[in-house]
Symmetry: C2
C-alpha cells in the first residue's frame, strides 16, 4: 500500500496540526494544494508569513484561513511545520519550532548541507526518516528532480559522473519572477520597453545563466554548487563527479535538464529504460516515433518526473555512458510535493 | 587588412553578379542585409524564390527588387549564388547553377557531408576556399556557432570530446516558426487556446526536443547528428567524440549552448580565455562579478559569437576539461553572415 493510500486509510489516520511558513509564496500555495489533494490528515492548519503578508486570507478545503504573523510561539501545539520562506527565516525559526516539539520540513537551503540534517527525497533515501529527525531538509528543485532519475539507475549500475545542463523555469525565483516573465513578455510582444525588477536580465524570449553569485575559486554559481553538492548527499555518493550548468529559460513552472551519465559498468539505453519503468514517481515519456519527449508544458502540475530521450552517449566509446532529458514541476517534486511527501512519513 | 576592409578598398573591388535563392525566407532577408551592410561588391542582385513568392518586392540598398522565379536559366551571368531554400532545391539547382559557371554557397544540408564539398566557416577552415570550389556548404547553425569557440581552443590543445546541450531559437525553423512563437505566446498570455501549425508542440513558455526524426539505431535526432558530424568535418577532426542534445527554447533568433570539453592535455579556464580573447569573430562575455554572460538577447543581430562561463569542469579531476556557454545569432553566424563571409573570399 502506498504512503498516500495508507494515509487515506481511516485506521491509520492520526490527525496532525500543521503549519506552513511562507504560506503566501508560490511554494506556499502548492503546499496548501498538496496537503489538500493528497488527503494529508490535517487537524488544524496554521498559515504563517511575514507581518507584511499577515491578515491575508487563503482557502484550505473550501474554508478561509487568515495568515498569521510568524513568531516562535506560533509553533506551540504544531506537530509539523513546512517552511518555505528563505534560508534566513529557516535559520532563525526552524530551531525554535523544533525546540517546541514541532517537526520542521525545510524547503530552504539553510540546513541542506548540515551533516546532522538529513536531506531527503522519499523515493531515494526516505529511510533516513526512520529516526524521526526534528529538522529535515527538502532539496534544491533541480537536485530533487534529477535524483528521481539518477537513483533508480545508480542502484543497478553505479553512476560515477554526471554532466547536466538545466532549462530552469521562473517559479524557482518565486511568484514575482513568474509575474515578471509574463509582464515582460507581454511588453515585448507589444513593442514596449520593460525594465526587469525581480531578475537581473531581460526574461522575455531570453535565456540567461542562473542569477546566483559565482564562486571565484571554481567558476560555478551558487545554484550549480547546491545542485552538485545536494545530488551527492541525496545519493549518498560523496565521490560522484558532478558538473552542472544552470540556466533560466522563459518557462513558467517546470524545470528541464539534459544529463549525460557515466556508469561504472557498461549500460544500454534499453536496460536503463527498464530500470526507470519501475521507478516510483518517474513517468517515461520516450516516444521516438512521434518525437514526444519530456516537456515543461506536460510536467506542469504533474507529480511525476518525466524522463526520456534515453540513448547511448555517442561521445563515450566504452559503452558506459548514457544521455537523457527530464522535466519536472519545480513547485511540486522540486518543492511542495516533496516536502509534503516527507511530512507524510511522520503522519503514519 | 580584414577581408571586409579589403572588399571596401576600391582598388580591390571587382563587382559581382549575385543571386539569392530563397530570398523571401528568414535567412534570405538576412543575406540581403549582410550583402548591404558589409559592402559586398554587388554589380547586380537577383532575388530568386518559388513561383509562389515570385513577384514580391524586396529592398536592396534603398531600391526595390522584384523576386523572380527560380529556374536554371536564372543563373546565366550570375557569379555567386547564395542558396537558402532547403535541401531539395539545393540538390536540384546547385549543380545546374555550378554548370553555368556560378559559384554556389549552399545554406542547406544537401552537400554538407559530401566528401567532395568543402564545409566552411571562414575563421576556422577558410583555407579550403583557396581552390575555388564551385559548391561550398554553409554549416548547420549550431555547428557554425560552436566551432567559433572550439577551433581556437583546439588549435592550442586538441579537444578530444565535446558534450553539448543547446538552447535553440525559433528562427532555425524559419520565419513561420518565429511568428508561431509570438502568436502562441500572445494567445497563452490572453488565456486563449492555440493549435501549433508549424512546430509539433506548444512553443509558448515551453521547451522541447528538436523536432527532427530520431535515428532508431543511435537515439540521436537529425539535428544532433548533423551538428556532431559537421563539427568533426569543420574541425578536420574525424575522431573527435561529440554528443549533443538539441532542444528548442522560446527564444526568437539566437542559439545558445552549454558545452563541456575534454582536451588532450591539462588546461585552465585562464588559458582558454586568453586563447579565445584573440579569436576572430568571438566576443568574451565573462563578467562573473556582475553575473553577465552570453545571452540570446545580446547575441541577436550581432555578428560575433558570445562566449563565457568558462570554468574548469568539476566532474573531471584530471584537469583536462572545461565547461562554457555560448550564444550566437542563428540567422547571422549560424546562416547568412557565414555564407556572405564565404562569398567574400571569392570576391577578392
Amino acid at each position: 500500500m502506498s504512503v498516500q493510500a495508507e494515509l487515506e486509510n481511516p485506521a491509520r489516520q492520526r490527525l496532525r496540526n500543521v503549519a506552513i511558513v511562507g504560506a503566501t509564496g508560490a511554494v506556499g500555495a502548492e503546499l496548501i494544494g498538496c496537503l489538500e489533494r493528497r488527503g494529508f490528515p490535517v487537524a488544524q492548519l496554521k498559515l504563517l508569513a511575514s507581518v507584511r503578508s499577515a491578515g491575508k486570507t487563503l482557502m484550505f478545503k473550501g474554508r478561509p484561513l487568515v495568515v498569521e504573523p510568524l513568531t516562535a510561539e506560533a509553533f506551540d501545539g504544531v506537530d509539523i511545520a513546512l517552511f518555505s520562506a528563505g534560508a534566513a527565516i529557516s535559520r532563525e525559526f526552524a530551531p525554535l519550532a523544533a525546540a517546541r516539539g514541532c517537526v520542521v520540513v525545510d524547503n530552504s537551503s539553510a540546513f541542506r548541507m548540515d551533516p546532522a540534517t538529513p536531506l531527503v527525497v522519499p523515493e531515494v533515501n526516505g529511510g533516513l526518516l526512520a529516526s524521526r529527525p526534528m529538522i529535515v531538509a527538502n532539496p534544491n528543485c533541480v537536485a530533487a528532480i534529477a535524483v528521481m532519475a539518477l537513483a533508480p539507475l545508480h542502484a543497478r549500475n553505479p553512476i560515477v559522473r554526471v554532466i547536466g545542463a538545466t532549462y530552469q523555469s521562473a517559479s524557482g525565483a518565486g511568484a514575482a519572477a513568474m509575474a515578471e516573465l509574463e509582464l515582460s513578455t507581454a511588453a515585448h510582444l507589444a513593442g514596449e520597453a520593460f525594465a526587469p525588477k525581480v531578475l537581473p536580465h531581460p526574461y522575455a524570449f531570453n535565456v540567461f545563466s542562473h542569477n546566483t553569485a559565482i564562486d571565484p575559486a571554481t567558476g560555478y554559481n551558487g545554484e550549480e554548487t547546491k545542485v552538485m553538492d545536494e545530488i551527492r548527499k541525496l545519493m549518498a555518493a560523496p565521490d560522484m563527479r558532478v558538473s552542472f550548468t544552470c540556466v533560466r529559460v522563459p518557462v513558467l513552472r517546470a524545470h528541464s535538464m539534459a544529463l549525460t551519465l557515466e556508469f561504472e559498468g557498461q549500460v544500454t539505453a534499453m536496460e536503463a529504460l527498464s530500470w526507470l519503468a519501475d521507478a516510483p514517481g518517474v513517468r517515461l515519456v520516450n516516444d521516438s516515433e512521434n518525437n514526444h519527449f519530456p516537456m515543461p508544458s506536460e510536467a506542469t502540475g504533474v507529480d511525476d518526473v518525466l524522463v526520456g530521450r534515453l540513448r547511448g552517449d555517442a561521445s563515450d566509446p566504452t559503452g558506459r555512458s548514457l544521455t537523457l532529458f527530464l522535466a519536472g514541476d519545480q513547485l511540486l517534486k522540486g518543492a511542495a510535493l516533496n516536502a509534503v511527501q516527507i511530512a507524510e512519513q511522520y503522519a503514519l
